[in-house]
């Protein structure tokens, strides 16, 4: 089955691929990332997934490969090449993030979910997540796979300062703040892991397609 693909113009050097689900975004991103590695897409500058769309941009003055993108994405999914399995991005990593569940909003999250705090912790650290996309700040991954009771609204008022390493949730996502920044997500705990180091290779602990688990530490 091919995903319902819609290509939209994003300036003269970009093409925005619109899909109907996060899973389709991941499949399209995987396909395009593999084609990029093969060199079939020419000189691509950026390939960026988000919630329901993927943006591909080429150097200014060149034309985005609309036709190749359409052709690649309308093939039946099971015919798509690459060594990665269905839904996986080539080179995707399995990441375990140790978390101390001591966040300011644990009680609020538990009340909203009508659960106890230990049940919230158990739910959060027993699920497996996927990095759907990154954004907000370098290395900030939007992780999908959040158990239903934990899908909760953002805080009414964002905090001016959320500490680096804060593990938090909002809407359908969970994630880790790589650096201290303002933030409106509900805080569950924190990790000592460095999530982004511009001098490291790779710089980001999380990249789109990675599978993530949280490991409770006391």
């Amino acid at each position: 089955m091919s995903p319902a693909v819609r290509l939209l113009r994003f300036g003269g050097s970009g093409v925005l691929v619109e899909l109907s689900s996060g899973a389709e975004v991941m499949a399209a991103y995987r396909t395009l990332r593999a084609a990029l590695a093969d060199g079939t897409l020419g000189d691509v500058v950026e390939l960026v997934p988000a919630a329901r769309t993927v943006l591909l941009t080429v150097a200014a003055g060149t034309t985005p490969p609309h036709e190749q993108v359409r052709e690649l994405l309308t093939r039946p999914l099971d015919a798509l090449g690459g060594s990665a399995g269905p839904g996986e991005v080539a080179g995707a990593a399995d990441v375990v993030i140790p978390v101390r569940y001591d966040g300011t909003d644990l009680d609020l999250v538990a009340r909203t979910a009508e659960l106890t705090v230990p049940e919230v912790v158990e739910l959060h650290c027993s699920a497996e997540y996927t990095v759907a996309f990154c954004g907000f700040s370098p290395g900030f991954g939007y992780l999908t796979g959040l158990p239903e009771p934990l899908r909760q609204a953002r805080l009414d008022d964002a905090r001016p300062q959320v500490p680096a390493g804060s593990v938090a949730l909002a809407g359908e996502f969970t994630g880790v703040y790589p650096r201290s920044s303002p933030g409106g997500w509900r805080l569950l705990g924190h990790t000592d892991q460095v999530m982004f180091d511009p001098t490291a290779d790779p710089p980001a602990r999380l990249a789109p397609g990675d599978r993530v688990r949280f490991d409770r530490v006391r």
Binding site: G11, V48, P49, C134, G135, F136, P138, G139, P203
Partner: protein, 315 residues
């Protein structure tokens, strides 16, 4: 227009100062920063999927020109100087050039006297001499290249300060000292080149989409409005004030799932007042993009002062 860009003294009047010798290394110290000076180059494209903005010079052609004038590769790191005011001291003989917004440029000798040297040309400073930038008469951002380029730590292939994400070196502060790389061959004809004076009325094209269908008559509103540059504009985005873009009824109150962004994207928040993302703009955003300003036109917006007029030509 009052600018001293072409008022440089003739060769005959100027003391004989040698250009940076090829292969030589020097250093400079910033003795005054002006309102805002950052280190910049051509940015760090290719990492947007990790949430890393492109960053880099807002007026990249001006930076490229400054680098060419001093014999550098076009992408070496220099300074982006908001509203002039920068002063720096050569710790050893060094060739520099100022480009971008037209502004007066002086060389001050060790004993205090200064001479106008002009922008858009190579200027050879002796050890102890200072380069002083005036305030641009028009435009906003000047660029200073030093032969050899500023040697600061490269992060993800770039030495640019990114004011949104915190990547790259800190904003330049008084007293910062910069080592320079090995100087190249300063071209024999290192300016002056013509100064392009930013117009009072800036006209830029906008390619509609991807979310123009969220708005009522987007082309008409974008074209008919005289947009005013807002004072909250910065390296992240240029804020435009004018007739608000109104959503079509079926999109009113709809939330857009986070979408990828790029420099040039014209995002429309609920206020209907568009923001044109610039080099330090975010890699994803939650408001619809009505159109995209081509990269080649972003340099003009980088020179748009708060209060100035912008005309958009949708296509």
């Amino acid at each position: 227009m009052a600018t001293s860009a072409h008022a440089a003294p003739t060769t005959a009047e100027r003391p004989a100062v040698q250009p940076s010798a090829p292969g030589s290394r020097a250093a400079i110290t910033v003795t005054r920063t002006g309102p805002l000076t950052v280190v910049t180059d051509l940015g760090r494209p290719g990492h947007a999927h990790l949430g890393v903005p492109r960053s880099g010079a807002l007026d990249p052609e001006a930076l490229r020109l400054a680098n060419r004038l001093v014999g550098n590769a076009e992408g070496l790191a220099g300074f982006e100087v908001l509203l002039g005011g920068l002063e720096l001291r050569a710790e050893a003989g060094v060739t520099v050039a100022v480009t971008g917004a037209p502004m007066a440029v002086w060389c001050r000798g060790e004993h205090g006297g200064r001479r106008a040297v002009g922008s858009h040309r190579a200027v050879h400073l002796r050890a102890g001499e200072r380069l002083e930038l005036g305030v641009p008469a028009a435009g906003l951002r000047g660029y200073v290249a030093c032969a050899g380029g500023l040697e600061v730590l490269s992060e993800l292939g770039s030495r640019s300060t990114d004011l949104l994400s915190g990547l790259g070196p800190a904003k330049v502060a008084d007293g910062f000292r910069f080592e320079l790389g090995a100087a190249g061959e300063v071209p024999a004809e290192a300016g002056p080149v013509p100064v392009s004076v930013p117009p009072a009325r800036i006209v830029v094209p906008v390619l509609l989409g991807p979310r123009d269908d969220w708005f009522a008559d987007p082309a008409g509103v974008l074209r008919a409005t005289v947009w005013t540059v807002g004072s909250a504009s910065n390296r992240i985005g240029l804020r435009l004030a004018g007739q608000p873009l109104v959503r079509v009824p079926e999109r009113a109150g709809t939330e857009l799932p986070s979408e990828p962004m790029c420099p040039g994207a014209v995002q429309v928040p609920p206020s209907g007042q568009p923001v044109v993302f610039l080099a330090d703009g975010p890699t994803t955003g939650g408001y619809p993009v009505v159109g995209v300003v081509p990269e080649a036109a972003l340099g003009a917006l980088a020179q748009a002062r708060p209060g100035s007029e912008v005309h958009l030509h949708p296509a």
